[in-house]
């Protein structure tokens, strides 16, 4: 809803900021900072995936980590089995997207309530967590890739230049690739939201009955949006696995799912820029406290989530936007928002 980031000018501003970060960060930050920043980016992509389906599709997914983890494992398994990374990256997107489509079929066509949807998605993530946890031992393998149980899969081959498995990306190259992918996902979602599909999706979020009365099938639109969200979460899982060369069942954990929810809540539901900011802020906070070792990260996440629901239910970015809205003249605002679906 924020007037500042909508419209073409706002989009240009966001992309310009992204390009500046891509160029400037490697110059001012050391290698450690750059590697740290890369995981923030992976989390930002993950935040976008939920920000899209929740904020614009109105889909309550409490288990977005399911797709994140599936993407990570799909990449790891395929990268080990196929040698190169191109197929692995594609599978890291396709497998979670297909899984989301399948799950979405049962949920949306069963017409279950938001609350049930939250519980079902959460349950799916928990069960994937339990399943992956129990795959210790060499009998659990796909091709040459051993799943490794709760220890996860170490030494996953990194992304390489297409067609040349020996040319692995350097940390700097991987940082730049991650930034490019983040900007691509952001741009893609903005375009999607401005398209017919996106407008109908938002309309369905606003009033499902009216959308049906106009001849749209909400189940289909939600299913497609959910699958796209799953694919983006999978891409994030792929980036995350590459970042550490490692994936474990923790990717599916409830704490991971909760983190994604917090990214979006903190950044603001109904925006795209907000979840990115939320992800960076929370990841930064966890990094800070992680070096202290005095509190468990769960404790901090729990306090944030609880405090957030009790104190600021509509999210920080919309709260700021509401402030700005009072300052910026009403006519300009109306003009800006008529140009586009409000997707900062």
């Amino acid at each position: 809803m924020s007037p500042l980031f909508t419209g073409r000018a706002g989009f240009a501003l966001v992309i310009a900021a992204g390009v500046i970060v891509t160029i400037a960060l490697p110059l001012i930050d050391g290698m450690f900072g750059l590697v740290q920043a890369t995981v923030f980016i992976a989390m930002a992509v993950l935040a976008l995936s939920l920000g899209f389906i929740w904020g614009f599709g109105g889909i309550m997914c409490f288990g977005q980590s399911a797709f994140f983890g599936l993407g990570g494992y799909a990449y790891a398994i395929a990268a080990i089995d196929f040698g190169g990374s191109s197929w692995a990256v594609l599978l890291a997107i396709a497998v979670p997207a297909a899984f989301a489509a399948m799950l979405g079929y049962f949920m949306f066509y069963g017409r279950i309530s938001d609350a049930y949807m939250g519980v079902i998605t959460l349950t799916v993530a928990v069960i994937l967590y339990n399943v992956m946890n129990s795959t210790s031992g060499s009998q659990y393998h796909i091709g040459a890739a051993e799943l490794g149980g709760f220890n996860g899969m170490p030494s996953v081959p990194p992304i390489n230049l297409p067609g040349d498995p020996s040319a692995a990306l350097s940390p700097l190259q991987f940082f730049i690739l991650s930034m490019i992918l983040l900007m691509a996902v952001y741009t893609g979602l903005r375009l999607l939201l401005a398209s017919r599909f996106g407008r109908v999706l938002v309309a369905i979020r606003e009033n499902e009955t009216r959308a049906m009365l106009l001849g749209y099938d909400p189940r289909f639109y939600k299913l497609v949006a959910f699958a796209i969200g799953g694919g983006i979460a999978g891409l994030s899982g792929c980036l995350f696995t590459n970042w550490g060369g490692f994936i474990s069942p923790t990717a599916f954990s409830l704490a991971q799912s909760a983190q994604i929810i917090i990214f979006v809540l903190l950044g603001g539901i109904g925006t795209l820029l907000g979840p990115i900011m939320g992800a960076v802020a929370i990841e930064y906070l966890i990094t800070l406290t992680g070096t202290q070792h005095r509190f468990d990260a769960n404790l901090i996440l729990g306090v944030i989530l609880l405090g957030f629901v009790l104190l600021v239910p509509q999210g920080v970015v919309p709260a700021i936007a509401a402030q700005l809205a009072r300052v910026i003249p009403a006519r300009r605002r109306a003009g800006a928002s008529s140009q586009t679906v409000t997707a900062p």
Partner: protein
């Protein structure tokens, strides 16, 4: 023949475990339409109460049957007063808040007691079904599960509290007009659900790996059971436990416990497509 007996015993035991881990959740959901995402951590807290008090010298049976439900029941009361009551009518917010609570509890217990705690071992030993051994403690947990189902049913059916609860569930404003304070009823209901969950946690303590994250092992099954059962508390969780417990045990017997859990999930997902309101949303609608 003996093998069949063993399988049957395992199925009944599997059903009992589902009843144990889901009845507290079902009470809170059925009566208040609140889905408590910290349910797994309430179980964990119950298990900790038993383990810690037993290690401190309290009799194991006292720990399980008295300490655990009281500790978790009081904790539930506190949670209702400090969090839940501000969020009535906001289902999704309640879920998010209890999720926050769940993380907070995991983090809190980890900070206080570390990631592991010295457990207690299952008492009572074994008995024989033909050439097979079966645990007597399982018989105890089956008995507790049956007592819980029967107890909740009797409370709802025969007591004044049960009558008021049923009235409040159907029509809160009218119950309020009759001089019943819905707030008090909700508070007591939440505490009751928490106490039942605490008892379940206590019963599980000797046979489960007690750790801060142990809730994750149970909540998936508990949610599936409650959603599959639908709105009626006793009939719903009873029937859903019977259905899912049987599926789980048969698949587990053929393969592994994890595949059993996957089968449960698949069964539940197919069921929401066919019966979105759960078993009692379609059948046995007027049951408790």
């Amino acid at each position: 023949m003996a093998l069949l007996g063993l399988i049957l015993f395992n199925i009944i035991n599997g059903i009992a475990v589902l009843v144990l881990i889901s009845i507290g959740l079902a009470v809170i959901y059925g009566m208040m339409r609140i889905i408590n995402l910290a349910h797994g951590e309430f179980l964990m807290l119950g298990a900790y109460a038993t383990v810690l008090s037993t290690n401190a010298g309290v009799n194991l049976w006292v720990s399980i049957l008295i300490v655990s439900p009281i500790v978790v029941g009081l904790f539930g009361l506190l949670v209702e007063r400090c969090i839940i009551r501000f969020l009535y009518g906001r289902l999704i917010d309640t879920m998010l808040a209890t999720w926050g609570l769940s993380l907070f509890m995991i983090g809190g217990i980890t900070t206080l007691f570390g990631t592991t705690v010295e457990g207690v071992s299952a008492p009572l030993g074994a008995f024989n079904i033909g050439p097979y051994h079966a645990s007597l403690y399982s018989v105890f947990s089956i008995a507790v599960a049956a007592a819980m189902l029967g107890g909740v049913w009797s409370v709802l059916r025969f007591t004044k509290f049960g009558l008021i609860v049923r009235a409040t569930m159907q029509n809160p404003p009218m119950a309020a007009a009759l001089g019943v304070a819905p707030n008090r009823i909700y508070m007591l209901t939440f505490a009751l659900g928490a106490a039942l969950t605490g008892l379940a946690g206590g019963v599980l303590a000797p046979v489960a790996g007690v750790a801060p994250g142990m809730g994750a092992a149970y909540i998936a099954k508990a949610f599936i059971t409650v959603i599959g059962g639908g709105a009626a508390i006793v009939t719903g969780s009873g029937l859903a436990s019977a259905l899912f417990g049987t599926i789980d045990q048969i698949v587990t017997f053929q393969t592994t416990p994890v595949i059993g859990q996957v089968a449960l999930l698949i069964a539940a997902i197919i069921m929401i497509r066919i019966l979105p309101q759960g078993i009692t949303g379609r059948f046995f609608r007027r049951s408790l």
